[in-house]
Symmetry: C2
Subunit: 229 residues, 2 copies
């Protein structure tokens, strides 16, 4: 979602202030939003009976909230709706950093950590808009192409919203940070950039003849990839 | 790491048994190992003062253990070394699944969830082998090309091992699972495959002239990508 937020900078709370390598921290909403809008899955952390669980799931950002959905019967959704503290983390891996020493091998990445307590989105129109955002986060415009959820499907689905009030980003960019005394080692050093790319879409067998690739897929390809449609 | 494990099938514990969509669950060690060996980062979940945290980090699998490393001073490493329950999750996104209804939009993915308590790897040779595995997990053979860690670097680094005894995988493959009554909707349906790909390596400025791309990077390109070196 490209919705602009009125909040441009989040003051870090004691919990979201980045403690390891604080120079990599970012608290600007534009930075946080860009990472959330680019990634495909988030990892949701919650604790049950003292045991943490980390579950990957789809999501969307709308304004200053992160939205996740799932089966109304799921342990995770029920726990979060009941007010369990949650941590949602989103990570983009941008490259491998090849340094001249083992110690300085690294990765370029952009990550966001959000802490808080989620709330159930139960108002029918708000819930529908949230589901639209989650579908369109992966494939912009897809919602308009498909059959919307019916009563039964809506009932089987829970949607949760987590405020971005306690969010922070951590970013590493650039080449290796080698020690001065390693600079002359006869060892290649630099960055191997990585990105998520799409390959040619695989149409369902039995798809009615002549149905075009959806605008949605083309859009994804053009904006987020080099799929070359 | 391609090390074979003698354990071929893990009986799911009550905690690792996949409860949502159990048909997607897998408990075979070969399946779990393949996912762990392919992904680049894991998400480590732990709880401090009732608040879960989920932190992305590099790792490696060796035999039936997952290894992570970090600053000896880090909150996460110290907490885990002290015996906090942990959940490590690894996720590969393989594609977007475009169904004919909003409800059935999905993703193809392979994920592993590991529960347990980590232990500090303190025996010097074992610790060095663990660091080698973490470096070589990202870029096979890189360890042999770079300066090994010195005393000071080893002291500043902690390594933790988490047993794979309580691990489970969850996998979705294939096309959309549309409802029978949606089959005739005039809507493209299928899968947009996604993968992580590398682009051309970026050498450090000042790199000695004539140093070749490392065998390590070439290897990564050939085996895991279409970098075309």
């Amino acid at each position: 979602m490209s919705t602009k937020s009125p909040v441009s900078q989040l003051p870090p709370s004691e919990r979201t202030r980045v403690k390891r390598l604080p120079a990599r921290a970012a608290y600007e909403r534009a930075t946080i939003d860009a990472i959330l809008d680019e990634a495909l899955v988030c990892h949701v952390g919650f604790t049950l009976d003292g045991q943490p669980f980390v579950i990957p799931t789809a999501y969307a950002r709308v304004d200053d909230g992160l939205l996740v959905h799932g089966s109304a019967a799921s342990r995770m959704l029920r726990g979060l709706a009941a007010g369990l503290p949650v941590c949602v983390t989103v990570t983009l891996v941008d490259g491998l950093v090849l340094a001249r020493s083992a110690f300085h091998q690294s990765m370029n990445y952009r990550s966001v950590v959000i802490l808080g307590v989620a709330t159930l989105v139960s108002e029918p129109d708000e819930k529908l808009r949230a589901l639209e955002a989650i579908v369109d986060h992966l494939i912009p415009g897809r919602w308009a192409e498909v059959r919307p959820p019916n009563e039964k499907e809506l009932k089987a689905t829970s949607v949760l919203r987590l405020s971005l009030a306690e969010a922070s980003a951590k970013i590493r960019t650039g080449g290796p940070l080698d020690d001065e005394e390693d600079m002359s080692l006869p060892c290649w050093a630099g960055v191997l950039p990585l990105r998520v790319m799409a390959s040619a879409p695989i149409a369902e067998p039995g798809l009615a003849c002549g149905l075009p690739f959806p605008a949605a897929v083309t859009h994804w390809g053009v904006d987020r990839n080099r799929i070359g449609l």
